[in-house]
């Protein structure tokens, strides 16, 4: 198991550097330039380019860049007065992380509950309502939902702050907008898995032991139904992170997403690359964690090396 984890981390690092290299190359292909402003003369642009080492040979830039990553240095921003990218990111990452984590937790818990209840009350109106909610949640994009929430709850009824990030109440609408999709996907998945598990022979065995229905559902059904659900958690969280880009913009959350979008339009190469690398690292870690979690919760994988009798 330890060897497996070390191996996986090794792969993760290699993948990360491949992504770093690809991002660097894409930056070279990105049309436009950071210094397109009409106020700048050609000379000034040359000076700026020199200053930011943009006139060095590509290979040298690349080596500097990769070397910097090793040292935890992602270069300096072109637009924010030459401040280090790591500093800029760390200033903005807080709200994004909070938003992402809250949405994941809220979406997952609600989704599981909805899925479990729907499965246990299969073919009743509770089930039908749950699944209608789920289908709506999956089909309505988070930004549409965010817009509707903002208009009705924020503007029209003035129940919650329309935008910004200044306290718990400000979290409600962005978190709901992001969590709905997660909830809906998990609810549908969990319902299917629960129904599958509830029909298994070992559920009858559990009941035949005289266990109460609550014990049977919690100790035997839910755990087994959760295993496959964990696998979709990875892609879901990744989708959610992408969602934050737009949602932060709509609710004016001072997060990474907003900054990222901004840096792309300004061709702030180091910022773009830095943020991309951060997201890539996050995705890679999520995928690893989900795989490991899968192994922990499913003994058939955990003990794959142990033989039969």
């Amino acid at each position: 198991m330890v060897r497996y984890i070390i191996g996986r981390i090794g792969y993760l690092i290699v993948t990360f550097f491949i992504i770093a290299a690809l991002t660097f190359m894409l930056m070279q292909l990105l049309p436009g330039s950071p210094f397109n402003s009409e106020k700048l003369t050609n000379e000034q642009i040359e000076i700026l380019k020199d200053q930011y080492h943009l006139n060095d040979p590509i290979a040298k830039q690349f080596i500097n860049y990769i070397g910097g990553i090793f040292k935890g240095d992602l270069g300096v921003s072109f637009t924010y007065d030459g401040r280090p990218v790591t500093k800029l990111i760390s200033e903005r990452i807080g709200p994004s992380a909070v938003l992402g984590i809250e949405s994941t937790i809220v979406g997952t818990i609600l989704g599981l509950l909805l899925g479990i209840i729907a499965a246990l009350r299969r073919n009743t109106y509770i089930d039908y309502i749950s699944m209608i909610v789920a289908v709506l949640g999956i089909s309505i994009p988070s930004f549409v939902f965010a817009g509707l929430l903002q208009y009705f709850v924020g503007v029209k009824w003035a129940l919650l702050p329309v935008a910004f990030w200044e306290g718990p109440l400000y979290h409600v609408m962005p978190v709901i907008s992001l969590a709905v999709g997660v909830m809906a996907t998990i609810a549908r998945f969990m319902r299917t898995e629960m129904l599958e598990v509830l029909g298994q022979d070992y559920m009858t065995t559990a009941k035949a032991k005289g266990l109460s229905s609550v014990t049977v559902v919690f100790k035997h059904a839910i755990r087994n139904a959760l295993i496959p659900v964990i696998t979709i958690l990875g892609p879901l969280v990744i989708g959610l992170v992408t969602g934050t880009l737009v949602i932060e913009h709509i609710f004016a959350v001072p997060g990474l997403g907003d900054q990222f979008v901004d840096s792309i339009s300004k061709r702030d190469y180091p910022m773009i690359m830095g943020t991309t690398l951060l997201y890539s690292a996050l995705f890679l870690i999520i995928i690893l964690v989900v795989d490991l979690l899968y192994g922990i919760i499913d003994p058939r994988i955990r003990l794959a090396s142990g033989g039969k009798d």
């Binding site: 065995t205 005289g210 266990l211 229905s213 035997h220 003994p299 142990g306």
Partner: protein
């Protein structure tokens, strides 16, 4: 011997889209203390439904017990609340299932799966339950039990898993054990081992057993009495000797003819031609009539009553009516025909 279980006029139906499936239609059965009763019959005859009704495990919906009593030590199980029934399941009555590959929870150690019942019914602490679990694994013939308790079902072979299932069933020393085709899913050599184990355990623990099987060889080996089911009804019942050597019902004849010979001399197997009745629209007369070579007009219109042939043997067939023509059982029935 006292009656441990008495099923009286049990009717179980399933409400499906195609209408009401009358899976069990008036079953009467009893099991005495320390006795093994075998229930045999073709697929779909209602054997599992009957046993699930005893366990209170008929899925509802779609299933329901329409009528009848299931008296266990004189107390009607069909009238118990869910909670009370949970106290009976796994403690007084337990069950062994057909397919050991699917009847254990894949994500829980076998030890925990056995301990659950002990903790629930015998109020043992975890450590006491663990000790008892190790002893149980030893009892059902699993080597290295103290190592095995911590393992998961996928680390066991099919035969070993069935031993675990048996350990779960026996954990609380039940008075009645229902084994629904406990060996059908196993290799032939393993089958024999599991049957030996069951026989030994029954001697040690004097548990009553209801054994459901297609395999008449198993019946001859293990059971004291046999009930033959067809179309949701018991059509003949008697001691093993009576049913094997003096069967009176044409369906029992058919079953015996379709069985590989017990004493060597393999002959061709004679499957009973035709198929079992549609239980969503059961015949009003004898359910076997469409397939019975001796069927008469009366068979199609009226269900025959039981004829008590001895204290222990009963058979529901019009041929036993004094007005019916005398019919001899065929030569092909397994154990040398009737004398």
């Amino acid at each position: 011997m006292d009656k441990l279980l008495e099923i009286k006029d049990l009717h179980v139906s399933f409400d499906t889209y195609g209408g009401e499936v009358k899976a069990v239609r008036g079953v009467n059965l009893d099991v005495k203390k320390g006795e093994t009763l075998a229930i045999v019959g073709e697929s779909g005859s209602g054997k599992s439904v009957t046993s699930k009704a005893v366990m209170g495990l008929i899925p509802n919906p779609p299933g329901r017990i329409k009528q009848g009593e299931i008296l266990f030590n004189g107390k009607d199980l069909t009238k118990l609340s869910d909670r009370k029934m949970q106290g009976v399941r796994g403690k007084d009555i337990s069950m062994i299932f057909q397919d050991p590959m699917t009847s254990l929870n894949p994500t829980m150690t076998v030890g925990k799966q056995i301990m659950e019942g002990l903790i629930k019914h015998q109020k043992l602490s975890r450590s006491e339950a663990r000790e008892r679990t190790v002893k149980l694994l030893d009892l059902v013939g699993i080597p290295n039990p103290d190592k095995r308790v911590k393992q998961y079902p996928h680390q066991f072979s099919g035969g070993m898993r069935q031993r675990v299932v048996i350990a779960i069933a026996l954990a609380c020393n039940p008075m009645l054990l229902i084994a629904d085709e406990p060996t059908t899913a196993l290799d032939v050599t393993i089958q024999a081992q599991i049957l030996d184990l069951m026989r030994d355990l029954q001697k040690q623990m004097s548990t009553s057993i209801i054994l459901i099987t297609h395999d008449l060889g198993v019946v001859a080996n293990l059971a004291h009495r046999v009930a033959v089911m067809y179309g949701g009804k018991i059509i003949e019942t008697g001691t093993v000797d009576e049913v094997f050597y003096k069967p009176k019902h044409p369906y029992t004849w058919g079953l015996l003819s379709s069985m590989p010979k017990l004493h060597g001399k393999s002959e061709e197997l004679l499957a009973i031609p035709g198929s079992p009745p549609d239980l969503s629209n059961p015949p009003k007369g004898c359910p076997f009539a469409p397939r019975c070579p001796h069927a008469m007009q009366v068979c199609i219109e009226h269900m025959p009553d039981y004829t008590e042939l001895t204290d222990t043997q009963k058979s529901a067939c019009w041929l036993l009516d004094e007005r019916a023509p005398k019919v001899e059982p065929p030569e092909t029935i397994g154990v040398g025909g009737s004398k």
